[in-house]
Symmetry: C2
Subunit: 230 residues, 2 copies
Protein backbone atom coordinates (compact mmCIF):
# COMPACT_ATOMS: atom_id res chain seq x y z
CA UNK A 1 0.00 0.00 0.00
CA UNK A 2 1.31 3.54 -0.67
CA UNK A 3 2.53 5.57 2.29
CA UNK A 4 1.90 9.23 3.06
CA UNK A 5 4.28 11.15 5.28
CA UNK A 6 2.15 13.88 6.79
CA UNK A 7 1.27 15.90 9.87
CA UNK A 8 -2.31 16.43 11.16
CA UNK A 9 -1.72 20.19 11.42
CA UNK A 10 -0.20 20.58 7.93
CA UNK A 11 -2.68 22.05 5.43
CA UNK A 12 -0.76 20.58 2.48
CA UNK A 13 -0.95 17.12 4.10
CA UNK A 14 -4.67 17.44 4.81
CA UNK A 15 -5.21 18.52 1.21
CA UNK A 16 -3.60 15.34 -0.15
CA UNK A 17 -5.48 13.18 2.37
CA UNK A 18 -8.75 14.71 1.13
CA UNK A 19 -7.79 14.16 -2.52
CA UNK A 20 -6.86 10.50 -1.87
CA UNK A 21 -10.07 9.95 0.03
CA UNK A 22 -12.25 11.62 -2.64
CA UNK A 23 -10.67 9.28 -5.19
CA UNK A 24 -11.14 6.27 -2.92
CA UNK A 25 -7.46 5.45 -2.33
CA UNK A 26 -6.16 3.92 0.86
CA UNK A 27 -2.70 4.68 2.15
CA UNK A 28 -0.60 4.05 5.24
CA UNK A 29 0.13 7.15 7.27
CA UNK A 30 3.42 8.14 8.89
CA UNK A 31 3.35 11.27 11.02
CA UNK A 32 6.42 13.43 10.44
CA UNK A 33 7.57 16.31 12.65
CA UNK A 34 9.46 18.21 9.97
CA UNK A 35 11.25 20.45 12.49
CA UNK A 36 13.16 17.34 13.68
CA UNK A 37 14.92 17.25 10.26
CA UNK A 38 15.23 13.45 10.46
CA UNK A 39 18.10 12.18 8.33
CA UNK A 40 16.01 9.28 6.93
CA UNK A 41 13.26 11.67 5.93
CA UNK A 42 15.66 14.16 4.30
CA UNK A 43 17.04 11.27 2.24
CA UNK A 44 13.53 10.85 0.80
CA UNK A 45 12.77 14.56 0.41
CA UNK A 46 15.81 16.87 0.63
CA UNK A 47 13.45 19.85 0.97
CA UNK A 48 12.31 18.37 4.30
CA UNK A 49 8.68 19.24 3.61
CA UNK A 50 5.45 17.28 3.85
CA UNK A 51 3.42 15.66 2.41
CA UNK A 52 5.51 12.98 0.73
CA UNK A 53 3.76 10.13 -1.07
CA UNK A 54 5.59 6.81 -1.55
CA UNK A 55 3.96 4.63 -4.16
CA UNK A 56 3.88 0.81 -4.27
CA UNK A 57 7.21 0.76 -6.11
CA UNK A 58 8.84 2.94 -3.43
CA UNK A 59 9.02 5.96 -5.69
CA UNK A 60 8.66 9.22 -3.78
CA UNK A 61 6.51 12.18 -4.80
CA UNK A 62 7.43 15.28 -2.78
CA UNK A 63 5.07 18.14 -2.00
CA UNK A 64 1.35 18.75 -2.41
CA UNK A 65 1.58 20.27 -5.91
CA UNK A 66 3.71 17.46 -7.31
CA UNK A 67 1.45 14.81 -5.72
CA UNK A 68 -1.82 16.42 -6.79
CA UNK A 69 -0.67 16.94 -10.40
CA UNK A 70 0.54 13.33 -10.51
CA UNK A 71 -2.75 12.00 -9.13
CA UNK A 72 -4.67 14.03 -11.70
CA UNK A 73 -2.54 12.76 -14.58
CA UNK A 74 -2.65 9.12 -13.57
CA UNK A 75 -6.06 8.80 -11.94
CA UNK A 76 -8.09 12.03 -12.08
CA UNK A 77 -8.29 11.94 -15.84
CA UNK A 78 -10.33 8.69 -15.57
CA UNK A 79 -12.81 10.03 -13.02
CA UNK A 80 -15.01 12.01 -15.44
CA UNK A 81 -17.35 14.27 -13.43
CA UNK A 82 -15.58 13.36 -10.18
CA UNK A 83 -12.26 14.67 -11.50
CA UNK A 84 -10.81 17.28 -9.14
CA UNK A 85 -9.12 19.38 -11.82
CA UNK A 86 -11.10 20.82 -14.76
CA UNK A 87 -10.63 19.95 -18.44
CA UNK A 88 -10.34 23.51 -19.74
CA UNK A 89 -6.82 25.01 -19.39
CA UNK A 90 -8.09 28.38 -18.09
CA UNK A 91 -10.36 26.70 -15.60
CA UNK A 92 -7.43 24.53 -14.51
CA UNK A 93 -5.36 27.71 -14.11
CA UNK A 94 -7.98 29.21 -11.79
CA UNK A 95 -8.14 26.02 -9.68
CA UNK A 96 -4.33 26.00 -9.47
CA UNK A 97 -4.23 29.71 -8.58
CA UNK A 98 -6.56 29.16 -5.64
CA UNK A 99 -4.83 25.97 -4.51
CA UNK A 100 -1.57 27.89 -4.47
CA UNK A 101 -3.32 30.72 -2.62
CA UNK A 102 -4.49 28.44 0.19
CA UNK A 103 -1.38 26.27 0.42
CA UNK A 104 1.16 29.05 0.01
CA UNK A 105 -0.19 32.52 0.67
CA UNK A 106 -2.67 31.65 3.43
CA UNK A 107 -0.05 29.21 4.72
CA UNK A 108 2.63 31.88 4.92
CA UNK A 109 0.39 34.66 6.25
CA UNK A 110 -1.62 32.62 8.73
CA UNK A 111 -1.55 28.84 8.99
CA UNK A 112 2.20 28.21 9.33
CA UNK A 113 2.89 30.91 11.95
CA UNK A 114 -0.16 29.94 14.05
CA UNK A 115 0.61 26.21 13.93
CA UNK A 116 4.25 26.84 14.70
CA UNK A 117 3.50 29.07 17.69
CA UNK A 118 0.58 27.07 19.11
CA UNK A 119 1.37 23.46 18.19
CA UNK A 120 5.01 22.80 17.31
CA UNK A 121 6.83 25.11 19.71
CA UNK A 122 5.37 23.23 22.67
CA UNK A 123 7.19 20.07 21.55
CA UNK A 124 10.34 21.64 20.10
CA UNK A 125 13.54 21.81 22.18
CA UNK A 126 14.66 25.39 22.93
CA UNK A 127 17.73 24.85 20.69
CA UNK A 128 15.40 24.51 17.69
CA UNK A 129 13.26 27.49 18.67
CA UNK A 130 10.81 25.81 21.07
CA UNK A 131 9.18 27.65 23.96
CA UNK A 132 6.25 29.97 24.61
CA UNK A 133 4.27 31.40 21.68
CA UNK A 134 5.47 34.78 20.41
CA UNK A 135 2.57 37.17 20.96
CA UNK A 136 3.65 39.51 18.17
CA UNK A 137 3.64 36.67 15.63
CA UNK A 138 0.22 35.56 16.88
CA UNK A 139 -1.19 39.09 16.60
CA UNK A 140 0.03 39.54 13.01
CA UNK A 141 -1.24 36.13 11.91
CA UNK A 142 -4.63 36.72 13.56
CA UNK A 143 -4.97 40.05 11.78
CA UNK A 144 -4.28 38.22 8.51
CA UNK A 145 -6.95 35.56 9.24
CA UNK A 146 -9.67 38.18 8.95
CA UNK A 147 -8.45 39.41 5.56
CA UNK A 148 -8.14 35.90 4.22
CA UNK A 149 -11.57 34.85 5.49
CA UNK A 150 -13.12 37.89 3.80
CA UNK A 151 -11.61 36.80 0.49
CA UNK A 152 -12.80 33.22 1.01
CA UNK A 153 -16.27 34.50 1.82
CA UNK A 154 -16.32 36.63 -1.31
CA UNK A 155 -15.31 33.59 -3.39
CA UNK A 156 -17.89 31.37 -1.67
CA UNK A 157 -20.61 33.98 -2.24
CA UNK A 158 -19.92 34.27 -5.95
CA UNK A 159 -19.52 30.61 -6.96
CA UNK A 160 -21.14 27.26 -6.21
CA UNK A 161 -17.73 25.77 -5.44
CA UNK A 162 -14.59 27.85 -5.20
CA UNK A 163 -13.32 27.49 -8.71
CA UNK A 164 -16.77 27.13 -10.28
CA UNK A 165 -19.55 24.57 -10.59
CA UNK A 166 -17.80 21.48 -9.32
CA UNK A 167 -15.81 20.36 -6.33
CA UNK A 168 -12.10 20.70 -7.13
CA UNK A 169 -8.62 20.97 -5.66
CA UNK A 170 -9.52 24.60 -4.84
CA UNK A 171 -12.12 23.46 -2.28
CA UNK A 172 -9.98 20.70 -0.83
CA UNK A 173 -6.96 22.95 -0.35
CA UNK A 174 -9.12 25.71 1.16
CA UNK A 175 -10.94 23.20 3.39
CA UNK A 176 -7.64 21.67 4.49
CA UNK A 177 -6.35 25.04 5.72
CA UNK A 178 -9.67 26.23 7.13
CA UNK A 179 -10.14 23.01 9.12
CA UNK A 180 -6.79 23.57 10.85
CA UNK A 181 -7.60 27.19 11.68
CA UNK A 182 -11.06 26.16 12.87
CA UNK A 183 -9.60 23.38 15.06
CA UNK A 184 -7.52 26.04 16.80
CA UNK A 185 -10.57 28.30 17.20
CA UNK A 186 -9.07 31.00 15.01
CA UNK A 187 -12.11 31.59 12.79
CA UNK A 188 -15.02 33.77 13.86
CA UNK A 189 -17.81 32.48 11.61
CA UNK A 190 -20.37 35.09 12.72
CA UNK A 191 -19.89 37.49 9.82
CA UNK A 192 -19.11 34.93 7.15
CA UNK A 193 -22.42 33.31 6.09
CA UNK A 194 -21.27 32.40 2.56
CA UNK A 195 -17.98 30.88 3.69
CA UNK A 196 -19.81 29.04 6.48
CA UNK A 197 -22.38 27.54 4.13
CA UNK A 198 -19.57 26.40 1.78
CA UNK A 199 -17.58 24.89 4.66
CA UNK A 200 -20.66 23.09 6.01
CA UNK A 201 -21.18 21.46 2.62
CA UNK A 202 -17.51 20.48 2.41
CA UNK A 203 -17.33 19.24 5.99
CA UNK A 204 -20.29 16.91 5.38
CA UNK A 205 -18.40 14.91 2.78
CA UNK A 206 -17.18 11.46 3.87
CA UNK A 207 -13.61 12.46 2.90
CA UNK A 208 -13.65 15.03 5.71
CA UNK A 209 -14.68 12.62 8.49
CA UNK A 210 -11.19 11.34 9.43
CA UNK A 211 -9.95 14.92 9.82
CA UNK A 212 -12.83 15.85 12.11
CA UNK A 213 -12.35 12.93 14.49
CA UNK A 214 -8.57 13.32 14.75
CA UNK A 215 -7.08 15.02 17.81
CA UNK A 216 -3.67 16.63 18.18
CA UNK A 217 -1.64 15.87 21.31
CA UNK A 218 -1.91 18.70 23.81
CA UNK A 219 -4.45 20.74 21.85
CA UNK A 220 -8.22 20.37 22.24
CA UNK A 221 -10.27 21.63 19.29
CA UNK A 222 -13.02 24.25 19.68
CA UNK A 223 -16.35 22.70 20.69
CA UNK A 224 -17.97 23.12 17.25
CA UNK A 225 -14.98 21.66 15.34
CA UNK A 226 -16.63 18.38 14.33
CA UNK A 227 -20.23 19.71 14.17
CA UNK A 228 -21.63 19.64 10.67
CA UNK A 229 -24.16 22.27 11.75
CA UNK A 230 -22.05 24.80 13.64
CA UNK B 1 0.26 40.56 -28.03
CA UNK B 2 0.25 38.97 -24.56
CA UNK B 3 1.74 40.95 -21.69
CA UNK B 4 4.02 39.73 -18.92
CA UNK B 5 4.22 41.60 -15.63
CA UNK B 6 7.67 40.82 -14.32
CA UNK B 7 10.79 42.12 -12.59
CA UNK B 8 14.35 41.55 -13.90
CA UNK B 9 15.49 40.35 -10.46
CA UNK B 10 12.60 37.90 -9.94
CA UNK B 11 13.60 34.29 -10.57
CA UNK B 12 10.00 33.26 -11.24
CA UNK B 13 9.72 36.03 -13.87
CA UNK B 14 13.00 35.05 -15.53
CA UNK B 15 11.84 31.44 -15.61
CA UNK B 16 8.67 32.35 -17.55
CA UNK B 17 10.64 34.64 -19.88
CA UNK B 18 12.96 31.72 -20.67
CA UNK B 19 10.03 29.36 -21.27
CA UNK B 20 8.31 31.83 -23.60
CA UNK B 21 11.54 32.41 -25.48
CA UNK B 22 12.32 28.68 -25.82
CA UNK B 23 8.84 28.24 -27.30
CA UNK B 24 9.32 31.22 -29.61
CA UNK B 25 6.58 33.45 -28.15
CA UNK B 26 6.82 37.22 -28.09
CA UNK B 27 5.22 39.25 -25.32
CA UNK B 28 5.13 42.84 -24.13
CA UNK B 29 6.88 43.39 -20.81
CA UNK B 30 5.71 45.53 -17.91
CA UNK B 31 8.11 45.86 -15.00
CA UNK B 32 6.32 45.62 -11.66
CA UNK B 33 7.78 46.58 -8.28
CA UNK B 34 5.62 44.27 -6.16
CA UNK B 35 6.53 46.02 -2.91
CA UNK B 36 4.58 49.07 -4.17
CA UNK B 37 1.36 47.00 -3.91
CA UNK B 38 -0.23 48.94 -6.77
CA UNK B 39 -4.00 48.85 -6.62
CA UNK B 40 -4.31 48.20 -10.39
CA UNK B 41 -1.90 45.30 -10.15
CA UNK B 42 -3.64 43.78 -7.10
CA UNK B 43 -6.90 43.91 -9.06
CA UNK B 44 -5.25 41.57 -11.60
CA UNK B 45 -3.49 39.35 -9.06
CA UNK B 46 -4.76 39.66 -5.48
CA UNK B 47 -1.69 37.72 -4.29
CA UNK B 48 0.43 40.66 -5.51
CA UNK B 49 3.09 38.34 -6.92
CA UNK B 50 4.87 38.18 -10.27
CA UNK B 51 4.98 36.95 -12.96
CA UNK B 52 1.48 37.56 -14.32
CA UNK B 53 0.71 36.67 -17.92
CA UNK B 54 -2.18 38.43 -19.70
CA UNK B 55 -3.24 36.65 -22.86
CA UNK B 56 -4.67 38.20 -26.02
CA UNK B 57 -8.18 37.99 -24.56
CA UNK B 58 -7.09 39.83 -21.41
CA UNK B 59 -7.33 36.73 -19.25
CA UNK B 60 -4.77 36.72 -16.45
CA UNK B 61 -2.61 33.78 -15.41
CA UNK B 62 -1.00 34.40 -12.01
CA UNK B 63 2.26 32.89 -10.84
CA UNK B 64 5.03 30.87 -12.48
CA UNK B 65 3.51 27.45 -11.75
CA UNK B 66 0.10 28.37 -13.12
CA UNK B 67 1.64 29.96 -16.23
CA UNK B 68 4.10 27.13 -16.92
CA UNK B 69 1.46 24.42 -16.52
CA UNK B 70 -0.88 26.36 -18.82
CA UNK B 71 1.83 26.84 -21.45
CA UNK B 72 2.60 23.11 -21.33
CA UNK B 73 -1.06 22.14 -21.72
CA UNK B 74 -1.80 24.53 -24.55
CA UNK B 75 1.53 24.69 -26.41
CA UNK B 76 4.18 22.39 -24.91
CA UNK B 77 2.22 19.30 -25.80
CA UNK B 78 2.65 20.17 -29.50
CA UNK B 79 6.41 20.70 -29.29
CA UNK B 80 7.45 17.04 -29.35
CA UNK B 81 11.16 16.78 -28.43
CA UNK B 82 11.30 20.50 -27.61
CA UNK B 83 8.58 20.11 -24.95
CA UNK B 84 9.81 21.43 -21.60
CA UNK B 85 7.86 18.97 -19.46
CA UNK B 86 8.25 15.20 -19.91
CA UNK B 87 5.57 12.75 -21.04
CA UNK B 88 5.97 10.24 -18.22
CA UNK B 89 4.13 11.19 -15.00
CA UNK B 90 7.05 10.29 -12.71
CA UNK B 91 9.48 12.19 -14.87
CA UNK B 92 7.09 15.16 -14.83
CA UNK B 93 6.97 14.87 -11.04
CA UNK B 94 10.77 15.11 -10.82
CA UNK B 95 10.83 18.16 -13.11
CA UNK B 96 8.12 19.79 -10.99
CA UNK B 97 9.93 18.92 -7.76
CA UNK B 98 13.08 20.67 -8.95
CA UNK B 99 11.21 23.64 -10.39
CA UNK B 100 9.55 24.07 -7.00
CA UNK B 101 12.93 23.66 -5.33
CA UNK B 102 14.49 26.52 -7.32
CA UNK B 103 11.47 28.83 -7.35
CA UNK B 104 10.41 28.24 -3.75
CA UNK B 105 13.10 26.75 -1.54
CA UNK B 106 16.13 28.43 -3.11
CA UNK B 107 13.96 31.54 -3.41
CA UNK B 108 13.09 31.55 0.27
CA UNK B 109 16.55 30.55 1.55
CA UNK B 110 18.65 32.71 -0.77
CA UNK B 111 17.29 34.62 -3.76
CA UNK B 112 14.46 36.60 -2.16
CA UNK B 113 16.41 37.82 0.91
CA UNK B 114 19.47 38.79 -1.17
CA UNK B 115 17.43 40.62 -3.82
CA UNK B 116 15.38 42.36 -1.15
CA UNK B 117 18.42 43.53 0.79
CA UNK B 118 20.62 44.46 -2.18
CA UNK B 119 18.17 45.59 -4.85
CA UNK B 120 14.73 46.54 -3.56
CA UNK B 121 15.58 48.18 -0.23
CA UNK B 122 17.59 50.87 -2.04
CA UNK B 123 14.42 52.03 -3.82
CA UNK B 124 11.86 51.37 -1.06
CA UNK B 125 10.71 54.21 1.21
CA UNK B 126 11.63 53.67 4.88
CA UNK B 127 7.92 53.26 5.73
CA UNK B 128 7.87 50.07 3.63
CA UNK B 129 11.14 48.75 5.05
CA UNK B 130 13.64 50.50 2.77
CA UNK B 131 17.15 51.42 3.90
CA UNK B 132 20.56 49.82 4.29
CA UNK B 133 20.96 46.05 3.84
CA UNK B 134 20.63 43.98 7.02
CA UNK B 135 24.02 42.28 7.47
CA UNK B 136 22.54 39.39 9.48
CA UNK B 137 20.08 38.56 6.69
CA UNK B 138 22.90 38.75 4.12
CA UNK B 139 25.11 36.44 6.18
CA UNK B 140 22.41 33.79 6.56
CA UNK B 141 21.46 33.91 2.87
CA UNK B 142 25.10 33.70 1.79
CA UNK B 143 25.62 30.65 3.99
CA UNK B 144 22.63 29.07 2.28
CA UNK B 145 24.00 29.81 -1.22
CA UNK B 146 26.86 27.40 -0.63
CA UNK B 147 24.54 24.55 0.43
CA UNK B 148 22.24 25.12 -2.52
CA UNK B 149 25.09 25.31 -5.03
CA UNK B 150 26.47 22.01 -3.70
CA UNK B 151 23.11 20.39 -4.36
CA UNK B 152 22.93 21.92 -7.85
CA UNK B 153 26.45 20.71 -8.57
CA UNK B 154 25.54 17.20 -7.44
CA UNK B 155 22.51 17.24 -9.74
CA UNK B 156 24.54 18.63 -12.65
CA UNK B 157 27.22 15.98 -12.11
CA UNK B 158 24.79 13.09 -12.18
CA UNK B 159 22.53 14.03 -15.13
CA UNK B 160 22.90 15.51 -18.62
CA UNK B 161 20.23 18.08 -17.81
CA UNK B 162 18.81 18.56 -14.34
CA UNK B 163 15.79 16.34 -14.59
CA UNK B 164 17.35 13.91 -17.07
CA UNK B 165 18.27 13.71 -20.73
CA UNK B 166 16.50 16.79 -22.07
CA UNK B 167 16.26 20.48 -21.32
CA UNK B 168 13.18 21.08 -19.16
CA UNK B 169 11.49 23.47 -16.74
CA UNK B 170 13.99 22.20 -14.15
CA UNK B 171 16.91 23.80 -16.04
CA UNK B 172 15.09 27.01 -16.85
CA UNK B 173 13.95 27.56 -13.25
CA UNK B 174 17.42 26.75 -11.92
CA UNK B 175 19.05 28.98 -14.55
CA UNK B 176 16.64 31.80 -13.77
CA UNK B 177 17.63 31.82 -10.10
CA UNK B 178 21.34 31.17 -10.70
CA UNK B 179 21.55 34.03 -13.21
CA UNK B 180 20.24 36.47 -10.60
CA UNK B 181 22.67 35.24 -7.95
CA UNK B 182 25.50 35.34 -10.48
CA UNK B 183 24.57 38.91 -11.53
CA UNK B 184 25.00 39.95 -7.89
CA UNK B 185 28.33 38.12 -7.67
CA UNK B 186 27.03 35.71 -5.03
CA UNK B 187 28.29 32.51 -6.65
CA UNK B 188 31.87 31.30 -6.27
CA UNK B 189 32.22 28.98 -9.27
CA UNK B 190 35.72 27.76 -8.35
CA UNK B 191 34.66 24.53 -6.65
CA UNK B 192 31.65 23.78 -8.81
CA UNK B 193 32.91 22.37 -12.15
CA UNK B 194 29.77 20.32 -12.90
CA UNK B 195 27.38 23.18 -12.11
CA UNK B 196 29.56 25.55 -14.11
CA UNK B 197 29.62 23.31 -17.17
CA UNK B 198 25.80 22.98 -16.99
CA UNK B 199 25.34 26.74 -16.58
CA UNK B 200 27.70 27.47 -19.51
CA UNK B 201 25.60 25.22 -21.73
CA UNK B 202 22.38 26.88 -20.56
CA UNK B 203 23.76 30.40 -20.81
CA UNK B 204 24.74 29.81 -24.45
CA UNK B 205 21.13 29.29 -25.51
CA UNK B 206 19.53 32.17 -27.45
CA UNK B 207 16.71 32.29 -24.87
CA UNK B 208 19.26 33.45 -22.28
CA UNK B 209 20.64 36.36 -24.28
CA UNK B 210 18.09 39.03 -23.24
CA UNK B 211 18.73 38.23 -19.57
CA UNK B 212 22.48 38.58 -19.98
CA UNK B 213 22.33 41.99 -21.65
CA UNK B 214 19.82 43.48 -19.19
CA UNK B 215 21.04 45.79 -16.42
CA UNK B 216 19.33 46.69 -13.17
CA UNK B 217 19.26 50.33 -12.10
CA UNK B 218 21.93 51.02 -9.50
CA UNK B 219 23.50 47.56 -9.59
CA UNK B 220 26.37 46.61 -11.90
CA UNK B 221 26.75 42.87 -12.54
CA UNK B 222 29.99 40.98 -11.85
CA UNK B 223 32.43 41.23 -14.76
CA UNK B 224 31.89 37.62 -15.95
CA UNK B 225 28.08 37.85 -15.84
CA UNK B 226 27.50 37.85 -19.60
CA UNK B 227 30.59 35.78 -20.53
CA UNK B 228 29.68 32.43 -22.00
CA UNK B 229 33.13 31.16 -21.04
CA UNK B 230 33.59 32.41 -17.47
Amino acid sequence: MPTLYHHPMSAASRFIRLVLSEYGFQVDFVEEQTWEMRREFLAINPAGTIPVYIDDNMRALCGATVISEFLDEVHGILKRDRRLLAEDPFHRAEIRRLTEWFLQKLEQDVTRPLVRELVHKVHMPPSLGGGAPDSKVLRTARGNVRQHMKYLSWLAGSRQWLAGDRLSYADLSAGAAVSILDYMGEIDWADLPAAKEWYQRLKSRPSFRPLLTERVRGLTPVSHYADLDF
